[in-house]
């Protein structure tokens, strides 16, 4: 709730030089590297194990669970990548994440624009209303939401996941975007008005390009949230009529692992392949995600 607002209202700012408190404690250097190494190993060790396991045969895994692949095999990967099921899962996740992201960005920026740059009664109330949304977690709303979607005929459809996801991403989105839009100087708007632009024209031609960094942050958050989401797909899609080939990844992976629980190597391959999109996306957007965090706590 309110705390998250402080976390996220961080407006972008130039990076401060990191405080290098420990510079003179040279004796500690090897120790620090050791700690760093241990922490890193614990963090990525299991992930590496899963990836390596995907290159082994189930017999090999059963014989020596902690060993290295012997022999290396690409068969698991080939089977997973060769079947339509994995690609169907990926496609579903892409549709859900892209739909949610697009929806959040479009709907969010319009509302944030009004709250940030229009003067009218009830503006503060509107802002408070959206920020209060942080107090209503998806977990609490999930059950009635599924019943609602059922009566609306959206149960078991992608839209049934996308629409609530957009709604639940709106509070953070508006909290991030409003200060962003407000930071754009009044003079720009006046200058645009003198040049004969309407407010909407100002929004399109000036505000939108200037607020790109904020939009990207909001988009990344919405995308990752939707990509990793499980509760909503579990309640809305897994109990519906969509075939499991078209379930989003988190559901698809759990389903696959239950079905093929005897074939550990195949499950490991499926799991590691399911990790790749998130890891790749993170590598690409790392600056945004971590940088956003830093702006946030400093704010």
């Amino acid at each position: 709730m309110t705390a998250t607002s402080t976390i996220t209202t961080g407006t972008p700012r130039s990076k401060l030089p990191p405080a290098m408190v420990g510079r003179r404690f040279d004796w500690g250097q090897p120790f620090v590297y050791l700690i760093a190494l241990v922490v890193a190993a614990i963090a990525v060790g299991p992930v590496i194990y899963v990836f390596l396991g995907g290159f082994r045969t189930t017999a090999d895994l059963n014989a020596d669970p902690a060993g290295l692949p012997d022999p290396w095999t690409l068969q698991n990967w080939a089977e997973v990548l060769g079947a339509p099921r994995f690609w169907g899962n990926v496609l579903a996740s892409v549709i859900l994440a892209a739909g949610t992201t697009a929806g959040v960005v479009v709907v969010g920026i319009m509302a944030a624009f009004v709250i940030a740059r229009y003067d009218f009664r009830g503006r503060e109330g509107l802002y408070t209303l959206f920020t209060a949304g942080l107090m209503f977690p998806l977990t609490v709303a999930a059950l009635p939401l599924t019943l609602m979607l059922r009566t609306m005929g959206l149960h078991g459809t992608y839209l049934g996941v996308i629409i609530p996801s957009i709604a639940f991403a709106l509070p953070t989105t508006i909290i991030i975007l409003v200060p962003f839009l407000r930071a754009i100087p009044e003079e720009l708007e006046e200058a645009a008005a003198i040049d004969g632009t309407t407010r909407i024209g100002f929004f399109w031609r000036i505000l939108l390009p200037l607020s790109m960094p904020g939009l990207v942050t909001v988009g990344v958050l919405a995308f990752v949230g939707s990509w990793n989401g499980y509760l909503l797909p579990l309640l809305v899609i897994s109990t519906g009529t969509l075939p499991q080939e078209l379930w989003p990844l988190p559901l698809g992976v759990t389903q696959f692992s239950t079905q093929y629980s005897q074939d550990t190597a195949a499950v490991l391959a499926y799991t590691s392949l399911a990790m790749i999109p998130a890891l790749a996306f993170f590598l690409a957007a790392e600056k945004r995600i971590v940088g956003g965090l830093q702006g946030a706590v400093k704010g």
Partner: protein, 303 residues
């Protein structure tokens, strides 16, 4: 006039979505919780006086040892997170807060568990922690075979195993958050203290950690709320029977009873209780710990 239309058109979609899919369901949860509803819910059921049961669902929840244990588990996870993950994160962040080779790579690696979906991370651990899985095999190979356990299936230790997985998943986020917070701690203070003869430990204890306070308090808040809402990891890693015995949380109990158990009314009552508990924790924490940090940031509203 034109401005009114603009406002309506621009805010309208967000407002409709928000009221319809965030606020309304939570209100509906409160309504449903007063009814005994069948899984195939229809609106007419709410008009049926025979289905109205008053607070019976709440009484049933409160009087149910399984649910009480679930609440307890949530709070155990919450307390353990604060007491164990917090110090780990602060300690590692303090140690790593220096110029060093490979800092960028290290930061990336620490962040990896946090980036993965909770479900996918959970499944990976489920495979690793099988009786014949990688963890037990590694223990055997290290000569620690006596430590082998059936990690996720033994009700005596399942909750601890679960907590260890959660720590693996979320401590990286905490470390990155603390490192970010440390960048806001001015270097000059520690330098001045060092000149005055303070040891490294004294500097951390009396200067850095207090100045890191706001970051720590925000992290603690996020961690507490996360612990109370915990669902994905428990649902995926622990088999239903063991979960019922040892690791049920409010959210898993809610989904189990409300959705898969076909009792949306009872599940809604659980949701309302979950909401009230989270809200209370949030408000109390805000009142006593966050007030200083938040002064003016939200109460002031827009400009």
């Amino acid at each position: 006039m034109r401005q009114r239309i603009e406002i309506a058109l621009l805010v309208g979609p967000a407002l409709v979505l928000f009221l319809g899919f965030v606020i309304l369901p939570v209100l509906l949860a409160a309504v449903y919780s007063l009814y005994n509803l069948p899984p195939a819910f229809r609106w007419e059921h709410l008009a049926d006086p025979e289905r109205f049961v008053g607070i019976a669902n709440y009484e049933r929840a409160i009087g149910n040892p399984e649910f009480i244990r679930a609440i307890g588990n949530n709070f155990v996870i919450l307390a353990l997170s604060l007491v164990i993950q917090g110090p780990i994160a602060i300690g590692v962040a303090l140690l790593l807060n220096r110029r060093m080779r490979g800092r960028g790579v290290l930061r990336l690696m620490i962040f990896v568990p946090y980036v993965l979906a909770e479900v996918i991370a959970g499944l990976s651990w489920k495979l690793l922690l099988q009786p014949q899985g990688g963890v037990n095999a590694a223990l055997e190979a290290l000569g620690l075979g006596f430590l082998q356990r059936n990690w996720l299936a033994d009700p005596d230790i399942a909750l601890w195993t679960l907590f260890a997985i959660l720590t693996w998943k979320y401590v990286g986020f905490a470390i990155i958050l603390m490192l970010a917070g440390l960048q806001g701690v001015p270097e000059e203070l520690s330098e001045a203290a060092a000149i005055d003869g303070a040891s490294w430990w004294q500097i951390q204890r009396h200067i850095t950690i207090p100045l890191l306070g706001p970051t720590i308090r925000i992290w603690a808040f996020l961690s507490m709320i996360g612990a109370l809402q915990l669902f994905d990891m428990v649902w995926v890693t622990v088999a239903p029977t063991v979960r019922g015995m040892a690791t049920e949380t409010m959210a898993t109990y809610m989904v189990q009873q409300g959705s898969f158990g076909g009792q949306p009314g009872f599940g809604s009552a659980i949701a309302v209780i979950l909401f009230l508990i989270s809200l209370t924790v949030a408000l109390v924490y805000q009142r006593f710990a966050l007030r200083r940090d938040l002064a003016g940031s939200i109460t002031r509203g827009v400009r």
